[in-house]
């Protein structure tokens, strides 16, 4: 057993789809009046598109893409600051590949590297530590971004640097947390979510209890899910079961990886190294209380914000980030959020890419923006205003890229061919995986 391909069984997927359809009919969900389920995690969004699950589920189930893609919610100012640090003499700036193409106000890290800054892609903060050991005369900075899945790795790297006395290593900390933005979304009176697919790998670190407030205070079901197609479908079914039975609970579909209490070693490392910022800025969402982490004073020597006097806490840049604005829903039934041009742009893009307009249909609101940050989803004028547009560059968003490559086969063909295991396909950042 490899704990991956087994969860791609087409027979089980068909059975789950049939069960989802029965439940959806039972609760009266329809194309016109769908159940809105938010998959919080960008990895889940990726799986949904990769396997075409949004097309295969009953038409009364609509996936709303959540704010759980750290690269997409990263404000441009953080990229600008990274470039400022990278340009300092003697600095080696290290980052996961995911962040390389994200546009800042004038440049991406990739462009800054081409312009001469010493910026290196690494697969782990441990690689950055190794560079710091190898080049004691240089300042090695690691771009710490991502949610709770990745936060422990930078915390452990900082602890290790402290043990070794590696004074030339520091972390530019822009770590963020999952529960706080969800709380912010739920408090919004316009939000029309019926349930959540909870992030699998974040929960592996923090456990399932940080989501209790979603069920308790907002009466919404949440099911922590794995990343294989049957994981996601089973989780959708559990959410629908809860709705049908009038329950709102936190359940764990991904128990093979996610312990109820999370990972105590990781949590201890996070607590030792990081503390909450009073507030942190998200692209598209603005400031959210207590949603970001900073390095505690006892590790100030390893804090790039302190070392270089650059960062969110140190030099707040007042220039506004692009914000979501309210738009009417397509059926006129209510309001949600989104950029109008973004919606139109999606339809146009889908047409151009050979896929149908499903992605742009309906409630592609605020939450779809995460999938768009920096890609060509928005109209050109808007892009230029936001500083996103560069026709020479591929869209930075893996989902958009995948759609653009639509091969014209039917959705069902696509799903069932994808359900077969693909072993040893290319990696990561370019393939839409994300390290953070």
């Amino acid at each position: 057993m490899k704990f991956a391909s087994e969860f791609r069984d087409p027979k089980a997927a068909r059975a789950l789809l049939a069960a989802i359809a029965r439940r959806a009919e039972q609760i009266g969900a329809s194309r016109e009046k769908p159940v809105h389920i938010m998959e919080i995690c960008g990895g889940h969004t990726h799986s949904i598109f990769r396997y075409g699950l949004d097309k295969l589920v009953h038409e009364g189930v609509e996936f709303i893409h959540g704010p759980g893609c750290p690269v997409c919610v990263l404000p441009r100012a953080r990229i600008d600051e990274s470039i400022q640090i990278a340009r300092r003499p003697g600095v080696i700036f290290t980052t996961f590949g995911d962040a390389m193409r994200v546009p800042g106000r004038s440049q991406s890290l990739l462009q800054a590297r081409a312009a001469g800054a010493d910026i290196r892609m690494v697969y782990s903060p441990l690689d950055a530590l190794a560079l710091a050991r190898k080049y004691p005369e240089r300042d090695v900075v690691f771009f710490g971004l991502g949610f709770e899945t990745t936060t422990p790795s930078t915390a452990l790297a900082i602890q290790q640097a402290a043990r070794e006395g590696l004074g030339n290593f520091s972390v530019f900390c822009n770590h963020i947390t999952v529960p706080e933005p969800i709380h912010a979304l739920l408090k919004d009176p316009h939000m029309v979510l019926d349930g959540f697919i909870g992030p699998g790998h974040v929960s592996m670190v923090i456990g399932v209890h940080p989501y209790d407030f979603i069920a308790r205070d907002f009466q919404k079901p949440l099911v922590v899910a794995g990343f294989e197609p049957t994981d996601l479908l089973q989780s959708v079914l559990i959410v629908l079961d809860q709705i049908a039975e009038g329950r709102a609970e936190v359940e764990n579909q991904y128990a093979r990886v996610v312990p109820e209490e999370g990972n105590p070693v990781s949590l201890a490392a996070i607590a030792d190294v990081y503390e909450r910022r009073p507030s942190f800025e998200w692209r598209g969402l603005g400031e959210i209380d207590a949603s970001g982490l900073r390095i505690r004073p006892k590790y100030a020597a390893f804090d790039a914000e302190e070392k270089f006097g650059i960062g969110y806490a140190v030099a707040r840049n007042p220039a506004p980030e692009p914000r979501a604005v309210p738009v009417a829903r397509h059926d006129g039934a209510g309001q949600t959020y989104g950029l109008p041009a973004f919606r139109q742009g999606l339809h146009a893009r889908d047409a151009a890419g050979g896929a149908d307009g499903q992605f742009g249909r309906g409630l592609c609101g605020l939450l779809a923006i995460w999938r768009c940050a920096g890609c060509s989803g928005i109209g050109r004028a808007e892009h230029e205003r936001n500083g996103f547009w560069n026709p020479a560059r591929q869209p930075c968003d893996p989902v958009a890229w995948r759609w653009r490559q639509g091969d014209g086969r039917s959705d069902r063909d696509r799903l069932f061919s994808r359900l077969r295991p693909r072993i040893g396909r290319g990696s990561g950042a370019a393939d839409g995986g994300c390290a953070v």
Binding site: S5, R8, A19, P70, T149, R256, V436
Partner: protein, 93 residues
């Protein structure tokens, strides 16, 4: 947040496949040290989930088997339902 460098590995050897094609294949060079409780020896042969060079979770094989059994049961039940529906259609003809 699913990861390019996240995959299921055994402690005793590296695997390239996490099925997503995002497997790191090999953990990055560096220091290898088991953190947390439990004798390292007892972990050999266990599967772990690796993210950016760190083993983040021990795979619970019993839980995996339970989930798979439920899925299998559902698949069998659905197949039986479909066969019955097909038989009904045959009868109607």
């Amino acid at each position: 947040m699913s990861g390019n460098s996240r995959s299921h590995h055994r402690h005793d050897r590296s695997r390239a496949d996490d099925g997503h094609g995002r497997g790191l294949g090999r953990a990055p060079r560096g220091q290898y040290r088991l953190r947390g409780r439990g004798a390292a020896r007892g972990l050999i042969g266990r599967w772990v989930l690796i993210h950016v060079g760190f083993a983040m979770s021990l795979i619970d094989e019993d839980e995996a088997a339970r989930t798979l059994a439920a899925l299998h049961e559902l698949g069998e039940a659905q197949e039986a339902l479909e066969q019955m529906a097909e038989a009904d259609r045959e009868m109607a003809r």
